[in-house]
């Protein structure tokens, strides 16, 4: 499973990765430049990745994290988002109905919508899955001049991240962001400052689908259980009404004229 390692200490904020991303997706850079200002975090339907300043000291790449057990994948009602075996979470524009539940479900606020279009689609980074297929690095990784981005197998990148931390324990914070957060992501970060600004502030170690899956798996049983208990209650009530009717009949020997009031 492919992944990307972001080394925050090496990023200078030159945005060559963003330029490469726009280039590889054939997006007009002038329009994307407007979105950089209009959008709070620099992401938009045209700017699928951004370089965010963290505090006044550092920059870091922000784009889809390609979670291993992604919230958007579990949320999409038509299965338009899938975690591909190569690593990226990919979007099928042919299935999408535009409900935007993925945008609500993503803990990193990543999926963006083409609001100004009449037939809008969700846009997000796909880790250049077409390039991965040709054994190339994602466009942003290939463009980084300072080695802040690195792509490879996820397990080897985690090893590399831990190696870097071990080599310079005085520089790095001893934490690999994305190793366990939200069930693990395929974009992982090492840094010398806290990454709260990137959406890493409010994290949890278990994935979001792990909150919903146990419940949704019970759905048929809940529905069946409700129906069965209704039938049971109804049967009991009917039987009691019948018994009461028979009792009145035997007691007074005259047919009762009301049935509904016995309960």
């Amino acid at each position: 499973m492919k992944a990307i390692l972001v080394d925050v200490t090496r990023c200078t904020g030159c945005e060559k990765c963003v330029a490469a991303c726009l280039d590889s997706k054939d997006i007009d850079p002038a329009q994307a430049a407007n979105d950089r200002v209009a959008s709070r975090d620099g992401l938009s339907a045209r700017r699928l990745m951004a370089v965010e300043p963290i505090g006044s000291e550092r920059f870091a790449r922000k784009a889809c994290m390609h979670c291993n057990d992604a919230s958007c994948v579990s949320a999409c009602l038509v299965g338009g988002l899938t975690k591909s075996p190569e690593g990226p979470v990919v979007y099928d524009s042919q299935k999408c109905i535009g409900c935007r539940y993925c945008m609500l479900a993503c803990p990193f606020h990543v999926p963006r919508y083409e609001w100004e279009k009449n037939t809008p689609l969700v846009r997000k980074c796909d880790m250049c899955i077409d390039r991965l297929g040709q054994n190339l690095e994602p466009a942003c990784v290939a463009a980084c001049p300072n080695g802040a981005l690195m792509s490879g197998e996820r397990w080897s990148l985690i090893a590399e991240a831990n190696l870097r931390i071990a080599k310079k324990p005085d520089v790095y914070i001893d934490h690999v962001w994305g190793e366990t957060e939200f069930g693990g992501t395929s974009v992982i970060y090492v840094s010398d400052i806290d990454l709260e600004e990137l959406g890493w502030g409010k994290t949890q170690s278990n994935s979001i689908p792990s909150l919903t899956n146990p419940l949704i798996e019970k759905t048929p049983f809940i529905g069946g259980g409700v129906a069965a208990s209704l039938l049971a209650v109804n049967w009991v009530i009917k039987r009691r009404m019948k018994l009461a009717k028979e009792q009145t009949k035997s007691n007074t020997n005259s047919p009762p004229n009301s049935t509904g009031e016995e309960i």
């Binding site: 209009a38 000291e57 579990s74 919508y113 100004e116 899956n213 409700v226 209704l230 109804n234």
Partner: protein, 644 residues
């Protein structure tokens, strides 16, 4: 038909027609042009208010079905038809609004074929789809009665119990799943509302408020059409002639104070209030378990929203139903029901919209078109409800057809005034008149190009200085006062485009371009370090340019002749340069200013191309790399450029 009913219909038509125009605009221009939705707040009024709250208020269909068909409480039999009609129309208008909300409405059928059984939205879709059909089947007998379809009705009655049980089981699934939709937002939804108990809280509040909806609809219907069963005999004399004086169904002696149906309504209200009380208890227990009490009492606007929501949904209705006086009064029950309904809507808005604002860092308020569509579909459903309740046996067994118009206004075409009265009293011309008035108005108010033309008020940063933006405001230390800088003039004077580099290259960190004082020290520095040669040389070198005076080379321009040449005796710089330097509070009125091009933009827009070009030409490949200039990794670390 009473006058009040007619006015209500008029209002509903106006709202519905507004909605129609807005719906056309939404389809034609797209979501972005007509709504205030954004990437930060992707779910808005249509989903949260129409879908999530609207469906929650339509629980009446299954709760009354549960009471009557399963628990055999026959006293509630008269409420079955209204409750099912409310459910049918509630689901219908929710789904209609949703059709406008989804980005690609022509693909609304996709979830039927494309499944993701891990998605709660998928479950909601299927349950709502099936349940909508269930309500249609349940409603069919009431509507088919007018036609000769006894066999179909008989068959429908035979399957009724099975249909009702299916409906209840589907409802219990999707009403809780509407809450489960928000389980995926543990880090985004405000902790006051996020809870793993959301599905339970949603279904409890929906059941309570759904029953309250039946009560409110029954009371309002009685108030408008047939007050006796609810309000008691002769409580009102309704204006208009057609109101039924005595309902044969309730021929028994009417209660002195209220009508005979009030007994049933107050029992229903007690059931609803009990459910709402349980809801309140569950919410408070859940809040304590999650340690949310400090959030509740810390006085943020979210905490006030939650307190208001709980008061409206549960506390007020429970109190009103608990007090015997208000429990027996139709008005007391109506207020309790309206409060519960309002509280439920507020709860859904809180969970779906307000609870996300703290995380999205942006405020969402629906656009006029969103309000128009959202309320318009409800108004349309209201019109259908009124039509069906007037023409079909929804509220009573006999077909209380009250189609005759006011007898005192007879159709007549003698004078213009009477033509007008005729048109105004006949439903079809009346609606046409309303449409003629409302549609153009709605068109003008909501036409997206017009609306968006007013709304785009964002300050665009200058990407390169153009001729139109002749004045830049420079507020280097961000102290709120800016200096007007005639950028184009300066550029022309210094040698046009080639001169950019003289200010925008030798830049300093954390300053967005070379400060003016770097060159203009003689103008801006305090006089005791006045750059005499600079002033002298500058004045001399610019002789040819209009506005520069060669005589400024003379000492006596600033220093009085015959006096010691001291700073204290010199003229103040501002005496001469008052008109050169404008200082304004930002933004200066009457200007057409642009923000100065930032250092980053200036560098990246102008330097990089040249650097990359030179890197190819000169063979110095490192010239094109970012790290050539960005030696330091600090923001503004390009200081090293100047040093090199």
């Amino acid at each position: 038909m009473s006058r009040t009913v007619r006015h209500i219909k008029d209002i509903l038509w106006v709202v519905a027609l507004f909605g129609l125009v807005a719906a056309v605009f939404r389809m034609w221009f797209g979501l972005g042009a007509t709504t205030n939705l954004s990437d930060g707040m992707p779910w808005g009024l249509w989903k949260v208010f129409n879908m999530i709250a609207g469906v929650a208020l339509s629980t009446s269909g299954f709760t009354i079905g549960l009471l009557v068909y399963v628990l055999k409480l026959e006293r509630f039999r008269p409420y079955v038809k209204p409750a099912i009609l409310i459910a049918f129309l509630g689901y219908g208008c929710s789904c209609t609004a949703l059709l406008f909300d989804i980005g690609l409405p022509h693909r609304f059928w996709h979830p039927i074929l494309m499944w993701n059984e891990h998605s709660f939205l998928f479950e909601v879709f299927w349950c709502v789809l099936l349940y909508f059909n269930v309500t249609a089947i349940e409603l069919a007998p009431a509507l088919l009665e007018r036609f000769r379809t006894e066999k179909v009705i008989k068959w429908l009655h035979r399957i009724a119990f099975g249909v009702v049980v299916t409906g209840i089981s589907l409802s219990s699934l999707h009403h809780s799943s509407l809450g489960s939709l928000f389980l995926v937002t543990p880090t985004r939804l405000h902790p006051l509302w996020y809870s793993s108990m959301l599905p339970v809280l949603f279904i409890l509040s929906a059941i309570g408020a759904g029953l309250m909806t039946v009560i409110l609809v029954r009371i309002v219907y009685a108030r408008l059409y047939d007050p006796n069963p609810v309000f008691g005999a002769n409580e009102f004399s309704i204006d208009g002639q057609s109101c039924v004086i005595e309902n044969p169904l309730h021929g028994v002696q009417p209660d002195k104070v209220t009508g005979p149906e009030m007994t049933n309504l107050s029992i229903l209200a007690r059931i609803a209030a009990t459910v709402l009380g349980i809801y309140l208890l569950a919410k408070l227990i859940d809040l304590s378990a999650a340690g949310g009490w400090q959030h509740l009492l810390n006085g943020t606007w979210e905490s006030w929203l939650l307190i208001g929501e709980l008061a409206m949904t549960a506390i007020i209705p429970v109190l009103l139903v608990a007090i015997p006086w208000s429990q027996r009064s139709p008005y007391g029950l109506a207020v309790a029901a309206a409060s519960a309904i309002g509280g439920l809507v507020l709860n859904r808005l809180n969970v779906g919209i307000f609870g996300f604002i703290w995380d999205a860092h942006e405020v969402y308020f629906p656009s006029l078109a969103e309000w128009a569509v959202g309320l318009g579909v409800i108004a349309a459903a209201g019109l259908i409800f009124i039509y069906l309740s007037e023409n079909f046996s929804i509220f009573s067994k006999d077909c209380t057809s009250q189609r005759e118009t006011d007898p005192d206004i007879k159709p007549s075409f003698d004078t213009l005034a009477q033509v007008w009265i005729t048109a105004w009293s006949d439903p079809l011309p009346r609606v046409s008149l309303i449409a003629v008035a409302v549609i153009p108005l709605a068109w003008i108010l909501m036409y997206p190009p017009f609306v968006s033309g007013q709304a785009t008020d964002k300050v665009a940063p200058s990407s390169g200085v153009d001729a139109l933006r002749t004045v830049l405001l420079i507020d280097g230390d961000s102290h709120g006062f800016a200096c007007e800088f005639p950028h184009v003039d300066h550029q022309n004077r210094m040698g046009r485009e080639a001169s950019c580099v003289s200010c925008h290259h030798a830049s300093l960190p954390n300053d967005h371009s070379t400060p003016c004082s770097r060159c203009h020290a003689h103008m801006l520095e305090p006089t005791d370090i006045f750059d005499h040669s600079g002033h002298f040389g500058f004045a001399a070198s610019k002789e040819s340019i209009t506005g520069f005076r060669p005589e400024n080379r003379s000492c006596v321009v600033c220093h009085e002749a015959g006096q010691p040449k001291e700073a204290s005796r010199a003229k103040s710089c501002m005496d001469c340069h008052e008109t050169d330097i404008w200082v304004h509070e930002v933004p200066a009125p009457g200007l057409n200013p642009a923000l100065a091009c930032g250092f980053h933009q200036a560098m990246h827009g102008r330097c990089i191309e040249c650097h990359v070009h030179e890197a190819k030409n000169s063979g110095r490949e490192d010239l094109g790399e970012c790290s050539t200039c960005h030696k330091s990794r600090r923001v503004g670390g390009a200081a090293h450029i100047a040093a090199r």
